[in-house]
Symmetry: D3
């Protein structure tokens, strides 16, 4: 699948925390930074997410803000 | 300002493309990856964004998706 | 790519309207409904979107609201 | 209420799963496709969502991505 | 229409700026604060938005961040 | 931090409801309106959110919809 979202970054799962509806997934990017994602619990299960798994982090450009320190 | 968005990554502006309402900003993260953001033209002007400027990229965790190659 | 977004629906492009930064894409779903998407102009070009092209519409569950008539 | 969100599709609730803060709602569109939404638990209760209820699915155009298989 | 979005605030249009695809709408809330919205140009036209018009501002709870000064 | 999000409104926390992954935060704006936010539980804890605390509500313009009664 080629997707319109402009941000597709590779990384590795560091942790998955399951709630009832949602799941919080922490991914370490290949550049070393950490990205936190909240997806549905069902998606996390269907993707078989677990520590060490290689994944892509996908973010639509309109969801990205810019700030100055 | 300390913000609830879990993803706050530092980087440097590579380019800014202005539309009438929006602006597309490409940022190179310190880890080397590129992130694309679409914000309002007014915000880009008020932040004084231009090539080489050090910025922060801010993304709410609920905006981040996970995928498998 | 298998993605965590829970809504992946197939359809066909009806129209693409280009702005400077954004592009508006109207897709007819196989069920007959119309979906409107706004993505970056660059993405629309890179996906080679044009009338009649078969595409997938992808929406994260947290972006979907429910209403009563 | 007439809303700026360009995607307002009718359907019927298939299931509602309650968490502590969120609720996952699966809706079958009149075209036959399934849409998954995550809203707050409180909203799901206030809308009185239950299996079989006729609802509208509302999505802002900027939340919709396009992909190629 | 009763909608799951938890934030529905009344106000009055202060200005509308049209781009090719998008439109920026500034609304003054009854409490005096200003809210800026970016919707599609087509939506702004269909809602007949112009200075002084009474409107509702609608925001899904998952789109709202919290920060400390 | 100066952020591109065009909506930064001051208010006071009315309540915080914790789930496993998420937290629902209700804020009373200085203008008297109530805003509901869903952020991650971890963010709510790290910001030390509790009733009466002065906070800022931050919303990106592209997340704001406009409606007519």
């Amino acid at each position: 699948m080629q997707i319109s979202a402009r941000n597709v970054l590779s990384g590795r799962v560091k942790s998955v925390t399951y709630g009832v509806v949602s799941a919080e997934v922490v991914v370490e990017l290949s550049g070393g930074e950490e990205i936190v994602s909240v997806i549905t619990k069902r998606s996390a299960e269907e993707l078989g997410l677990s520590e060490g798994k290689e994944v892509l982090v996908v973010v639509k450009a309109t969801s990205v803000m810019i700030a100055l320190e």
